[in-house]
């Protein structure tokens, strides 16, 4: 299994590098839906979520924009990787048909 472990580490490192380097490399232009919303004049309909945790892939309180994005990206990669891995394990080892809560699902 150590080969698999190494592969997993490599995969996660690749994800971390992509997420982190997006602070420098990602395009800041409006994306597809935003562009259409702007051009077709319905962007004003967007509503704020009313709360903020890591809004727009930044960490509140970290003023350096890039450092903020890097940290938010690292947090996201670790948390989402962990959730998906945990969900996979739970699903793999729970008997289908049992009425336990579905991992990764809303209540």
């Amino acid at each position: 299994m150590s080969g698999t472990k190494r592969w997993i580490v490599v995969g996660v490192v690749i994800a971390l590098v992509i997420a982190g380097s997006s602070a420098w490399l990602a395009s800041g232009s409006p994306d597809g839906l935003e562009r259409v919303a702007e051009d077709k004049e319905f962007l004003h309909r967007a509503e704020d979520s009313g709360y903020e945790i890591l809004p727009g892939y930044t960490v509140p309180g970290i003023d350096d924009e890039r450092a903020s994005t890097v940290l938010a990206g690292v947090i996201g990669v670790i948390v989402v990787g962990g959730i998906a891995f945990g969900a996979g394990r739970l699903l793999r080892h729970s008997k289908p048909g049992a009425d336990g809560p579905a991992p990764g699902e809303q209540t």
């Binding site: 990602a26 409006p30 259409v36 309909r45 967007a46 809004p55 998906a84 579905a102």
Partner: protein
């Protein structure tokens, strides 16, 4: 990043197809939650049966990679950007059920933690970017490889096409939801969304093919079950 549009920071900061709250009506948002909830529940049961132990770590790596790739907006024509969705890639590598779980984790986290995509709109967002991409991408991949065979070139080409198709399907679904919500008429939103995402889909296709190529080069055993026809006999190896 810098938005020309003042007040609407949430929309301006978020990557591509994430629908903010306000773009879809309450009935559409609710329908999205219900449909997505049912499909994710079914996918969870199926994934439990289909997953093998080796696929579980791959789910975590896929989720991490897709989350990261979604942060990397790439420029497309006319001052617009796009980013990968990832559902097609996940479905080809993991099968559509596990892919739905992975994509739900990614899109759910983006909404709850990063305020990217509305909570109300989360159902439609998972549906568009996770479920529809996984199933249409998987279907397109199967069709293409059934027609073309399973050489490396065909598999990677099929991945490119499947990823492109999946992005367009997601864009079409989004346009339909915007139209039903009275946000933008179909005659306006559909051509615009399909046009922009025809370009975004090229990026999706290239990244997906590259990622699949990486897995096939490094650990083909992790991918073989889904890249080789999973519903027929399992393939022992090369």
């Amino acid at each position: 990043m810098m938005a020309a549009v003042g007040a609407i920071e949430v929309a301006a900061d978020g990557p591509a197809l994430h629908i903010p709250d306000g773009f879809v009506s309450t009935p559409v948002a609710l329908a999205g939650w219900v449909v997505t909830g049912i499909i994710v529940g079914l996918a969870a049961r199926r994934a439990g049966r289909e997953l093998d132990d080796r696929a579980v770590p791959l789910m975590g790596v896929m989720a991490a990679f897709i989350f990261a790739a979604q942060m990397m907006n790439f420029p497309v024509a006319g001052g617009t950007s796009g980013h990968m969705l990832g559902g097609a890639l996940a479905a080809v590598l993991l099968g559509p059920s596990a892919a739905v779980i992975v994509m739900t984790a990614v899109v759910g986290l983006q909404a709850f933690l990063f305020q990217d995509g509305g909570i109300g709109a989360l159902g439609v967002n998972v549906l568009n970017m996770g479920i529809l991409t996984a199933f249409t991408g998987y279907a397109a991949f199967r069709v293409a490889t059934a027609a073309g065979g399973r050489s490396r070139a065909v598999v990677l080409g099929a991945m490119f096409v499947a990823a492109w198709v999946s992005v367009e399907v997601a864009a079409i679904a989004t346009s339909l939801q915007l139209a039903v919500s009275d946000t933008s008429p179909l005659s306006v939103a559909l051509p615009a969304m399909v046009g922009v995402h025809a370009l975004v889909g090229i990026g999706e296709g290239l990244i997906s093919a590259a990622a699949l190529g990486f897995v096939l080069s490094t650990r083909p055993d992790l991918a073989s079950r889904t890249v080789a026809a999973p519903s027929t006999m399992p393939v022992a190896g090369d």
